[in-house]
């Protein structure tokens, strides 16, 4: 695309903006956002300004920094702010792609009569705006992924409660996958719980853990060892028959740990070691 064409676009900046704003209005079926027309106009003008002052002969061929940082940063923050304002990804994409229509229209009206030159310029310009669209899409997805990973971190915290089931006895039910990050949280919460309550027995219930592979087993062993270092005992409960068989075949020795099939039997064991007894009250029949 020749220098003179960029000049033409820059000279007709107002025209581009006007066409773009028109297209935005026809494309947006219903106005479900709270932006005023003035705000949209100001934002769009800023975009056109930046785009036309950035684009040149070299970067139109190759959409990569250096030189494009201010434009790419702008698009990223524009995408994020639009997403926060409630625009759907489709709306933001449409917003960007209607700009292409405006640019091409101005080009075709002003760029002379050489069809080959016009064709080449249109292709390059199209590709450039497509890249802006892709960047916006990527930004949108990355934003979503950040939210998801943040939520799963929060979930890991939330889903590992330490419950004081009796004076001196803690229980911690684990539901879901026990990966390394989760184990860290489990271990910290459990050890802190032991300190806070002065408990001497902790029950880690894994009925809700779908599979125990060698890494999960190692995590369990570590947790038990850490608990013992604090002078408390850790019982692993909720070992289902299929898990027990699988662990044996894997070749992992859990015999150093106190393991129970159910939370109930773990609790019985705990009562026993604290020399507590749970009994049914004998009603006095003489009454």
């Amino acid at each position: 695309m020749g220098t003179e064409l960029f000049e033409i676009l820059r000279k007709n900046k107002e025209k581009v903006l006007q066409l773009w704003l028109q297209a935005q209005q026809t494309e947006t079926e219903f106005s479900n956002n709270f932006n005023t027309a003035d705000e949209l106009r100001a934002q769009s003008a800023e975009f056109v300004d930046l785009l036309l002052s950035t684009i040149d002969e070299s970067n139109i061929q190759d959409f990569s920094p250096p030189g494009l940082e201010s434009l790419t940063d702008y698009i990223s923050s524009l995408t994020i702010s639009r997403a926060r304002q409630g625009f759907s990804p489709r709306e933001t994409a449409t917003y960007i792609f209607t700009l292409k229509d405006a640019l091409l229209q101005v080009l075709s009206e002003q760029a002379g009569t050489d069809p080959m030159q016009l064709y080449k310029a249109s292709m390059q310009l199209s590709k450039f705006v497509d890249n802006i669209g892709i960047l916006s899409f990527e930004t949108f997805i990355t934003g979503r992924e950040d939210v998801i990973s943040q939520q799963s971190d929060e979930m890991a915290e939330l889903s590992t409660p330490v419950i004081r089931v009796w004076n001196g006895i803690l229980a911690m039910p684990i539901i879901g996958t026990l990966d390394s990050a989760r184990t860290q949280v489990v271990m910290e919460n459990l050890l802190q719980g032991i300190v806070d309550t002065g408990s001497s027995i902790a029950i880690l219930d894994i009925s809700g853990v779908p599979a125990v592979d060698s890494l999960v087993a190692q995590h369990l062993i570590k947790t038990v060892n850490a608990t013992r270092l604090m002078g408390a005992e850790c019982i692993i409960s909720g070992i289902r028959p299929e898990i027990a068989q699988t662990v044996v075949h894997l070749g992992i020795d859990l015999s150093q740990m106190i393991t129970k099939a159910t939370l109930e039997s773990a609790l019985k064991f705990a009562f026993n070691s604290l020399q507590l007894e749970v009994r049914r009250i004998q009603k006095d029949k003489a009454n």
Partner: protein, 140 residues
């Protein structure tokens, strides 16, 4: 009919993040349940999958898992091929020994996985990558 539909299951799953392991295990479980595999065999297969897929992620820099339902005569099973383009394994015999690890884990993944499935094959070329193939029969 169900067998026919099952026979068409053939898919690839990329392993690039920890969360891909979770998806991979869940998908294997789903197929195993659909096939009617018993809970013990299901658990064994999922555990073996977890071991090898994690190795691929940790040591192989990620890779791909190909899941396929296999029918051989009257037997029905699930085959998984794990392929990475990582550094490869220098000494497979050593790697297959109980307790051997170049990391700080238990070293039970490969030998353990082998004991959990019906067929196990491993192939590795230094500098080119590692491929592990496992098969678990529904009633195996």
């Amino acid at each position: 009919m169900i067998t026919l539909l099952m026979a068409m299951i053939r898919e690839s799953l990329a392993i690039q993040h920890e969360r891909d392991l979770v998806y991979c295990r869940n998908r294997v479980k789903e197929v195993a349940v659909k096939m009617g595999m018993g809970i013990v065999n299901q658990t064994k297969l999922i555990t073996a999958t977890s071991e090898i897929a994690r190795n691929m992620l940790i040591y192989g820099g990620g890779g791909i898992v190909r899941l396929e339902v296999i029918i051989r005569g009257k037997q029905e099973g699930i085959q998984l091929v794990f392929e990475d383009k990582g550094p490869g394994i220098a000494d497979i015999q050593k790697a297959m020994q109980d307790g051997f690890t170049t990391g700080r884990t238990l070293g039970m993944g490969l030998p353990g996985a082998k004991r959990l499935v019906n067929e196990f094959a491993i192939q590795s070329t230094l500098g080119q990558g590692t491929t592990v193939k496992i098969l678990k029969w529904k009633n195996g």
